[in-house]
Symmetry: D2
Subunit: 329 residues, 4 copies
């Protein structure tokens, strides 16, 4: 079986996750690593038996059928358009862009290029099982949802200004999960938030702790819990409540070992971060992208999902600013 | 040891819980059962080796040091004032009254009579353990809270009109728990709600499914999850998030038995209702009331706690009506 | 309803458990507390609103229909025979006697007196649920069994000589459980044991840590795990394996609270001892005895069950002494 | 980094697990697949981008530094000796041989060749965590052990005659785990067993359900639970009891999802078989073998561990045949 060539743009944190998954995938060959920082590109390319190349060269190579965009957020959209223009299938890390208007305007230029957006949680085996059971009617008709997404530790100081803020950077994952699970679009958004973790975050105009309530046209409610620093690991859970029951996806743990003593019962902490927690989801995502590149599948998460999540993220911020619920048509 | 005499007012659902606990308490003697329905009074009195009596007689008996008020909600306040006027210590089921103004106006007439309000959840051993660990600093400084309070099945049709509505009847428990655990008063309330369980409830102007977000002056956030019908039992949980960790009180279960087969892992449902779930809390509450009657303790939950919870319940409704967050003081 | 009078013989550790349960039982009235130590008898009688009396008086009182025997082990049989001779229904703490031959010889003198032996674990709600599910065929045909019975802390030094040894004093509970659950009698017994907890126990000729394997005629196997000191609480579990699945009864816990921090997940220790773990079982046992005294039920655990358990306990010791499996006909 | 070449002998069930792990290992290159069945060899070699070759050719290739022996059990020893004679590092699936005498006699011919025996469970992350905590003294001094090893479904009819019987084929894993965890050699073995799963197994002189009790010189006890057919999945657990506590490794599960309904609480079955349960262990084993081949590590499990486990397996059978405990040395 011939492997399909792909190029990786960005050798940073996410590139170092997606790169090895693409390189080790039986149906893909990672041909290029593209990064403006030569050392970073070189180190990752060497590790993955790929070449380094400037973006133009990678996109000009007709052997390259797909591009993985892991560049900085402000470059996602530009790289996406360039890759689409070159006829490549695109996998792009979230978010498409921090500027909703820009993202909307660019929409037509994507035309029919296969585009997969990197909302990894939809590929998590725990969440997929929950979704499958939900769809199978195990709890009747879905009524309410609770999404817990707590980061283990606050981001570094310099991160906030370019992050787009808590809602576009972080809550956006939950907004996508909510749309995926609710099965209808939210029509009302309310967010209450505080800066409890790090006063610096507040000084930069952002919040670090938030609770958001979504409501759909049929009255379904969804609560999203976010914090930038849990103190106890990467808390990633879903609770879904239906007309006849409840479905939960609890935190995964590194092992099943328990110690019982006179002092109590002790188990390991939950997974410390996204690399451990979503390792399988990242692999499954690349599996799906391989199918997309090979034209065996259409992308499960498209550009419009990215737009829809951005719309909700902006509504969260607007609700917080106004102290009132925001209606969406 | 001489047992202290108490009288029970109301032989209904709650009287049938508190009556036996008072009758079986080593420090108390249940002398009277008072209920306008002679059959109900007689049946319970007989079962508990007590006498039936009209209210006046019970309150006039100098041997009676305390009164347990389990009458219908619209009589709570009248019975409380009558008992206080007679110099009795009062245990009163929640809520004090559905009318906040009336409850406030009556406040001075209670004077110094010992008054214990029946927010039973503060006596639950699971929640008490959580509170103790929270106060011991196990998760650092409290930041956010999630209270889950889901009733197993919708109340009978006729219940809604006299119930006071979801917030004063049901959410009020969580509003009290929130005040107890947060350690500061909420300054902002937002509620989103739907009628998903029973259209009849909606036709009567009430909701059956709600999510409420409270915010305190220091920025602490609390989410309250309510439904009138869970479909899977009586879901009663707390999650508290602090600066260094998380504390949870999960649902209690009737037994620890599991069956493992090829088809999966099966355990019993969680407790079906309040009698099973809060049996120990009800007993502990009467324990505390025995101490109050005996003047060994001052009431842990007073009249002003009832007022404060009513204020919040009204704010929930106001927020829902206005579609905006409601500020308090 | 008239309460039936019962007398308690023995105001020690077990008398202080069964006495209050009998005194508080709606169908029983605890009339006498009998104990050769006047202070102990007086203290317990006072607490339970009963009288003290010599044994003869209690047994001569025609109002007394039942006797709870909680005296020292060497008196169980004598008190049982005296009570039976007086026409009383008997509840007797385990074991009947340490001397199997004596117990067998006394058998005919019990005649038809209702006799309930105090193997409390058969009344534990967790174990009863397991038994019910087993009988309902949830795991097909039972094949093997694992009983875990670990005491929290070694008994005091002076206990060993009069205890009858590990098997008659402690393992006997599991031998009865095994008979109850296996549904057939063991035909082979093997025990391996050590003295690992306290060398003093070894010096007195006993062991403190044992594993016993029972085999029934149809080939069912049962492992019994015993230790005199677990170090982590009172470990009381059952695992049953059948042709289509597994049933487990795990340890009960005082609460459902968990703390999650960077350091791990912490829960309370399991119950520390028999009073907490088997509180409900002890109450259910007295419930059943009330039915026995009132002639509404025949005893679920009879004299012959006590004999059968003793036979197995002796086989454990014989196996340990001989280093070989012991066959039973 | 140059990859070290290895050859795989045997393209059957275990070869299909170890082959891909070796082929995908960053430090190894799988050069040859050797199997007398050309189709099987060809199919696996093609999938793993390796060549097929006769054994002689693979062993004669000086580029090949290590050999993975996954042939049928009766060939393990012959292949091991041939590979060792050719100067290769050897990874050999368990058991070394079914004939203890033959295995002992061959010992000197292995000389100094690096030899790693495939007791995969020592590489399981759950069991490794348990071992690490045990060694860290979390439960004080180890006293007793319980190993649960239940296969999901009985092997095919034709398997028994060549399997070596339950103890050499299956229990041998637990005998190795016991030696690893106990920290001292068993001096006494007792086994009780039955044929409850499949009468055919009994007709062929084997058993399918067994309980084994090991005792060490210092009095530590270990129970091994085995069945050929659990009916509920691949049950793989450890319980270790020490002077101050208990350590458990529970069954791993495919996901953390639970459904709660009126009917109960439902979770997925435990892992169905060894491929799912020990996937990580198999990978870690090849990691270690890569270190052995690269001479960065000495094998954690050697030839003598294989001999010791066989000695114990023979003692199990001898105990079962004799109905008595078997002493060792």
């Amino acid at each position: 079986m011939e492997r399909i060539c792909v190029a990786l743009i960005g050798a940073g944190r996410m590139g170092q996750i997606h790169g090895p998954n693409a390189a080790g995938h039986p149906a893909l060959r990672l041909k290029y690593v593209v990064d403006p920082r030569p050392d970073a590109a070189q180190a990752l390319a060497c590790r993955l038996a790929a070449e380094t190349a400037p973006l133009e060269q990678a996109l000009a190579d007709p052997a390259v059928a797909g591009v993985l965009i892991c560049s900085s957020t402000d470059q996602h959209l530009g790289h996406t358009l360039a890759a689409a223009a070159a006829g490549k299938a695109v996998f792009c890390e979230k978010p498409i862009d921090l500027d909703l208007r820009k993202a909307r305007q660019a929409r037509p230029r994507l035309a029919g290029a296969p585009f997969l957006l990197g909302f990894n949680r939809r590929f998590d085996p725990h969440f997929l099982t929950l979704k499958r059971r939900l769809d199978a009617g195990e709890i009747g008709r879905l009524e309410t949802l609770h999404l817990i997404n707590h980061d283990p530790a606050a981001p570094p100081a310099g991160f906030v200004p370019t992050s787009g803020g808590l809602f576009k950077d972080f809550t956006i994952h939950d907004l996508d999960l909510a749309r995926w699970l609710l099965g209808e679009e939210p029509v009302q958004v309310f967010t209450s938030a505080s800066c409890l973790v790090d006063p610096d975050i507040g000084r930069q105009g952002d919040v670090d702790t938030a609770r958001t309530v979504l409501k759909t046209a049929s009255g379904r409610l969804c609560v999203i819990s976010n914090t930038r620093r849990s103190g106890y690991g990467y808390d990633q859970r879903i609770e879904a409540f239906g007309s006849t029951g409840m479905l939960t996806a609890a935190n995964a743990r590194p092992d099943t070992v328990q110690t019982l003593t006179e002092g109590g019962t002790f188990a390991a902490p939950i997974h410390p971060g996204f690399a451990e927690r979503y390792g399988e989801a990242y692999r499954a995502q690349i599996d799906h992208f391989a199918d997309v590149v090979g034209r065996h599948a259409t992308p499960l998460i498209g550009y419009d999902d990215g737009i829809a999540a951005l719309v909700l993220a902006e509504a969260c911020q607007a609700s917080l600013d106004a102290g009132t619920a925001i209606g969406l048509h």
